[in-house]
């Protein structure tokens, strides 16, 4: 399960959802896997404003991944030499739109962490009720035992 998914997950127990402690879920005993994929700049740019950056930093650090910068990257940070390209665009208009954008190291790191790194086996734990959800073969299971439904 790619880490980006965690940005949109919380505890399945209704009474937990209103508690801030239920988000994000915390990985435990996680075995990570890398599934490589082609970097998609427009996708990263679009998802950027949706990221709960502080929470993603917490998850990354809990998983022992390289620490993320304290402030979220901007859209411009994702493209190599973006400021320069913008200047040319103003001067030459449409012609520049054809130039292929080169992903910056920031974009590559973000892609690696959010889309290529996944939890293969392990648990996701609710910070409010401590319920554990199992991740098996890369799929997280949120079905609740009968007494918790």
């Amino acid at each position: 399960m790619k880490l980006l998914t965690l940005n949109f997950l919380t505890c399945a127990i209704k009474t937990c959802k209103t508690s801030p402690a239920s988000f994000p879920l915390h990985p435990r005993d996680a075995e990570l896997e890398i599934i490589e994929s082609e970097i998609n700049l427009p996708f990263l740019r679009n998802i950027l404003p949706r990221l709960m950056w502080e929470e993603i930093r917490v998850i990354a650090s809990e998983l022992g991944l390289p620490s993320l910068p304290t402030t979220p990257p901007t859209r411009e940070d994702l493209v190599e030499g973006a400021s320069q390209a913008q200047a040319t665009e103003q001067a030459e208009g449409e012609a520049v739109a054809e130039v292929e954008e080169v992903p910056s190291q920031t974009a590559k790191d973000l892609h690696r962490i959010l889309l290529e790194t996944g939890i293969k086996e392990g648990k996701l734990v609710c910070g409010n009720c401590a319920h554990e959800y199992k991740v098996m073969e890369g799929v997280a299971n949120f079905l609740l035992p009968g007494h918790l439904v």
Binding site: L4, K14, K17, N141
Partner: protein, 272 residues
């Protein structure tokens, strides 16, 4: 067609759906998935209309066929069947998890859009169907203060219709709405497969829009019926106006609704 006897208490309903919906899909997952590849036009249109970078949820995503429609959005799919969710995880850049549609593990008011295709009709009581719609609406971003309801997140819900007299099943107005629908799982026999090959095209054309395979359509005379296994799935067939009523009761507002090939559909938002 068998009429379904549905229990009326909540515990009983859960057990009933476990036996007559969840466990069936788990067992037929791979075969079911191989018949689910063509998106329905209304669903395809809805997904393609979403803005680039929109974030959505696919409640009851099955094998994830709708995850592949628009790669410029990000969708978290969920399904009650582990086997189907596993198949759905293959659709990059999207995600898929195992979850119950009445206990979804998503933060409320987060999603730009949601779809729930051929799912709500599997719940066996009116209250649970309304609850399922509520659970979908709850995921959506609320409309901004002072704006029209349509400015919030939108959900597309799609259910099987009672009125389908021209379909192979022939149900229509006035018929029983709670039914058991068979799924015939073919026993894998190489010889039988070969015999069937020549007939495959014919079978596909004969099948209903949902790609349902039944004994009547997909059964070559030469095959031994004893080798096949029939599973019965519970369905509540929606009659005209019923989906809209469920949405209103769940606190939603219907933006657009209609009928497409044996199914009722509606696009809904949350009320302000």
């Amino acid at each position: 067609m068998a009429t379904a006897m549905t229990p009326d208490d909540s515990q009983g309903s859960q057990r009933y759906e476990e036996e007559h919906v969840h466990s069936v899909y788990e067992q037929i997952a791979s075969h079911f998935s191989s018949t689910r590849y063509k998106p329905w036009p209304i669903v395809e249109r809805f997904l393609k209309e979403q803005q680039d970078g929109a974030v959505g949820a696919d409640i009851g995503c099955g094998n994830g066929k709708y995850l592949a429609v628009n790669p410029r959005v990000y969708i978290v799919g969920s399904d009650r069947s582990r086997n189907l969710a596993q198949i759905a995880t293959q659709h990059y850049p999207h995600s898929a998890i195992v979850a119950d549609n009445l206990s979804l593990p998503h933060p409320a008011s987060t999603f730009d859009f949601a779809i729930s295709i051929a799912v709500v009709h599997h719940l066996s009581t009116p209250a649970r169907r309304v609850e399922a719609v509520e659970a979908i609406l709850e995921l959506l971003k609320s409309p901004q203060q002072g704006e029209v309801a349509a400015s919030g997140g939108k959900a597309l819900i799609y259910v099987w219709a009672l009125e389908q007299k021209d379909s192979r099943r022939g149900w229509d107005e006035g018929h029983e709405q709670d039914v058991m629908v068979p799924w015939v799982l073919k026993e894998k026999k190489e010889k039988a497969q070969k015999e069937r090959k020549g007939r495959r095209k014919e079978a596909k054309e004969g099948a209903g829009v949902e790609g349902e395979k039944s004994a009547a359509v997909n059964q070559p005379e030469s095959a031994k019926p004893a080798e096949d296994k029939t599973f019965l799935r519970y369905y509540h067939l929606y009659k005209k106006g019923e989906l809209e009523r469920d949405i209103t009761e769940a606190g939603g507002e219907v933006v657009e609704s209609g009928y497409e090939k044996d199914n009722w559909w509606a696009i809904a938002t949350r009320k302000q």
